[in-house]
C-alpha cells in the first residue's frame, strides 16, 4: 500500500502488466473513491459552471458528461474535471484526489455571485471504475438499467447490486470503454459491491487494478494527470487541450490570459516520445538537444504494458515538437535517444 494524497491505496494487486492488459482486452476494476465530487445545483448552476470551466456546459443534455478544466485567472490549471449534468439545474463535478480541498474551495469561492448551492459530496460516495471492453457486460449483469442506451460520456441511474437510484456513468481514465459507479461510502456496502463486481466479472477474467495500472493506462491514452501534464504553471495551449477549451464562450476564469498567451505564442508544448535507444524515461527526467543542452522535461514516462514500448510525455519547445524529431532523454547522466511520435500512443479500436 502507498500513501496517495492521504489515501492508503494499492499500487498493484496481481501485477501492473497483467492488470493493465486485463483492461485493454477484457475488464479490470478500480477503487477510485479518492476522487472528489462536487454538486452544484440551483437556478444559476449552469452560469456558475460556465464561469469556472473551459468547456461549454450549455451543450450538455441531461444525463450527459464532458471533460473540462478549471483555470486560474492566469490561464493555468486548478484541475481537470468531468462535469456531469444530472438534472435541469443540477451538475456533478468530479475532481482529483490531490486537489480535493483546493478544488472545492475554488468552486465555492468563485460561484458566490451565482444563485446556486455548492456541496462537497466527496465523502458520500465510494467510486468504483469498471473498465475495459467487457466492462459493459459485467455492469449489465448487476443492474436493471439498459446500458446499451448509455453512450460514452453519458450517465444513467439504476439499481445496482440491490442499491436503488445509483449513478452509473460511462466514463473512465483508461482509454477504454467503461463505467464508473457512485455507491454509498459506508465500508460494508463498498466491500459488498466490490466483491459482487469481482464475482460478476469472473467469467470475463476481471482483475482488481491498482494505481500502477491506472497510471500506465492513462499514459498510453495520453490522459493528463494533475501535477504532471497539467499544473498551476502550465496553460491549456501548452497541454494541448485546445479542443476542450471553448474560446467562443464570452467569459470564464482564465479566458483573458489564454487569449494573451495565444497571441504571445507557445514556449513549450506537450509531445509524446518513444525511446529509440534502451532506457525508460521517468517523470522529471530532463530532455536534452543533440548538443546536450536542457530543452524540456518528462512529465510522465514508463514502460507501456500493452504497446510493449518505452513511452513518455514531455514538454519541449514547439520547434522540436514535430513527429519524427529526435531528442535525448537524460537517464543516469547519459543522453538516451528518443523520438517524437503521434499521440495518443494507444487508441481503442472502434466497435464494428
Amino acid at each position: 500500500m502507498v500513501d496517495f494524497n492521504g489515501w492508503d491505496m494499492p499500487v498493484e494487486y496481481s501485477g501492473i502488466i497483467a492488470e493493465h492488459n486485463a483492461v485493454r482486452t477484457g475488464v479490470g476494476i478500480f477503487d477510485v473513491s479518492h476522487m472528489g465530487d462536487i454538486r452544484v445545483a440551483g437556478r444559476e448552476a449552469l452560469a456558475s459552471i460556465q464561469h469556472i470551466s473551459i468547456n461549454d456546459a450549455s451543450r450538455l443534455a441531461i444525463g450527459q458528461a464532458q471533460y473540462s478544466a478549471m483555470l486560474y485567472p492566469q490561464g493555468t490549471f486548478v484541475d481537470d474535471i468531468i462535469v456531469h449534468r444530472l438534472a435541469e439545474q443540477e451538475y456533478l463535478i468530479v475532481i482529483n484526489a490531490g486537489t480535493r480541498e483546493k478544488d472545492f474551495n475554488w468552486v465555492r469561492d468563485n460561484t458566490r455571485q451565482f444563485d446556486c448551492v455548492v456541496e462537497n459530496l466527496s465523502d458520500d460516495f465510494t467510486q468504483i471504475a469498471i473498465q475495459g471492453p467487457r466492462g459493459v457486460d459485467v455492469v449489465q449483469k448487476l443492474t436493471d438499467a439498459d446500458l446499451s442506451a448509455v453512450k460514452f460520456y453519458w450517465v444513467t441511474r439504476g439499481t445496482i447490486c440491490g442499491l436503488k437510484n445509483i449513478l452509473i456513468a460511462r466514463t473512465g481514465y483508461t482509454g477504454e470503454d467503461g463505467f464508473e459507479i457512485y455507491i454509498p461510502s459506508d465500508e460494508q456496502t463498498s466491500a459488498r459491491v466490490w466483491n459482487e463486481v469481482l464475482q460478476a466479472g469472473k467469467e470475463f477474467g476481471v482483475l482488481p487494478c491498482g494505481l500502477g495500472a491506472r497510471n500506465t493506462l492513462r499514459l498510453e491514452s495520453k490522459l493528463p494527470l494533475y501535477g504532471h501534464e497539467i499544473s498551476d504553471t502550465i496553460n491549456v495551449w501548452e497541454a494541448g487541450l485546445d479542443r476542450f477549451c471553448k474560446m467562443e464562450k464570452p467569459e470564464f476564469v482564465g479566458r483573458d490570459a489564454l487569449d494573451k498567451a495565444k497571441a504571445a505564442g507557445l514556449k513549450r508544448t506537450l509531445v509524446g516520445l518513444e525511446m529509440v535507444d534502451r532506457g525508460i524515461a521517468r517523470d522529471g527526467y530532463r530532455i536534452l538537444n543533440s548538443s546536450g543542452q536542457e530543452i524540456g522535461y518528462v512529465t510522465s514516462g514508463s514502460y507501456a504494458p500493452f504497446l510493449k514500448k518505452n513511452i513518455a510525455l514531455a514538454y519541449v519547445p514547439p520547434e522540436l515538437s514535430a513527429v519524427g524529431t529526435e531528442v535525448l532523454v537524460e537517464i543516469r547522466n547519459q543522453g538516451v535517444k528518443a523520438r517524437v511520435v503521434p499521440t495518443p500512443f494507444y487508441k481503442r479500436p472502434k466497435k464494428s
Binding site: V11, G15, I17, R278, G279, R282, Y303, P305, R332
Partner: protein
C-alpha cells in the same frame, strides 16, 4: 521463499554466489517481488571494475527504478545479456537469473555479508512494517 545457503546477501537485496576467486551476482526473490514486473536492466560491460557497496547498474520495474549495489569488489568477466531482452525472467526465478560474474578482488569482503538465515530474518522484519 527459500534463500540458497551457499549464497551471501546484502541489505540492498543482492545475492552473491562465491566460487573460488570468482562470484556470480543477482537480486533476491524478495527484491523482485517488491519491484513487481521487471521490464529493464542496465548492466555494466565486461571489464568494468565494480566496488563493494557502490552502484554497478540498475533494474527497473513498471513502477520503480532501483540501483544495483555491488556485494563485493571485482572485475566483471561476464554479463547475462539474455536479461536485456527478457528481464521478466528475474521475476520468474530471481536466484537463477544471474546478472554479472566477477573476478573477486578480495574474497574476504564476503565475510561481512548476510547469510541466508540472516537475510531471511532481515526481510521478514523489513516486510513487516
Amino acid at each position: 521463499m527459500a534463500y540458497p545457503a551457499d549464497f551471501k546477501y546484502t541489505k540492498e537485496h543482492e545475492w552473491i554466489k562465491p566460487d573460488g576467486g570468482n562470484a556470480t551476482i543477482g537480486i533476491t526473490s524478495y527484491a523482485q517481488d517488491s519491484l513487481g514486473d521487471i521490464v529493464f536492466v542496465d548492466l555494466p560491460k565486461p571489464g568494468t571494475e565494480i566496488s563493494a557497496g557502490k552502484t554497478f547498474g540498475s533494474v527497473e520495474s513498471v513502477k520503480a527504478v532501483s540501483d544495483l549495489y555491488a556485494p563485493a569488489s571485482g572485475t566483471v568477466t561476464e554479463v547475462n545479456g539474455d536479461l536485456n531482452t527478457h528481464p521478466e525472467k528475474i521475476n520468474k526465478d530471481a536466484h537463477g537469473s544471474w546478472m554479472v560474474k566477477i573476478k573477486l578482488k578480495d574474497a574476504a569482503e564476503l565475510n561481512s555479508l548476510l547469510s541466508a538465515a540472516d537475510y531471511e530474518k532481515f526481510v521478514s522484519e523489513e516486510g513487516g512494517h
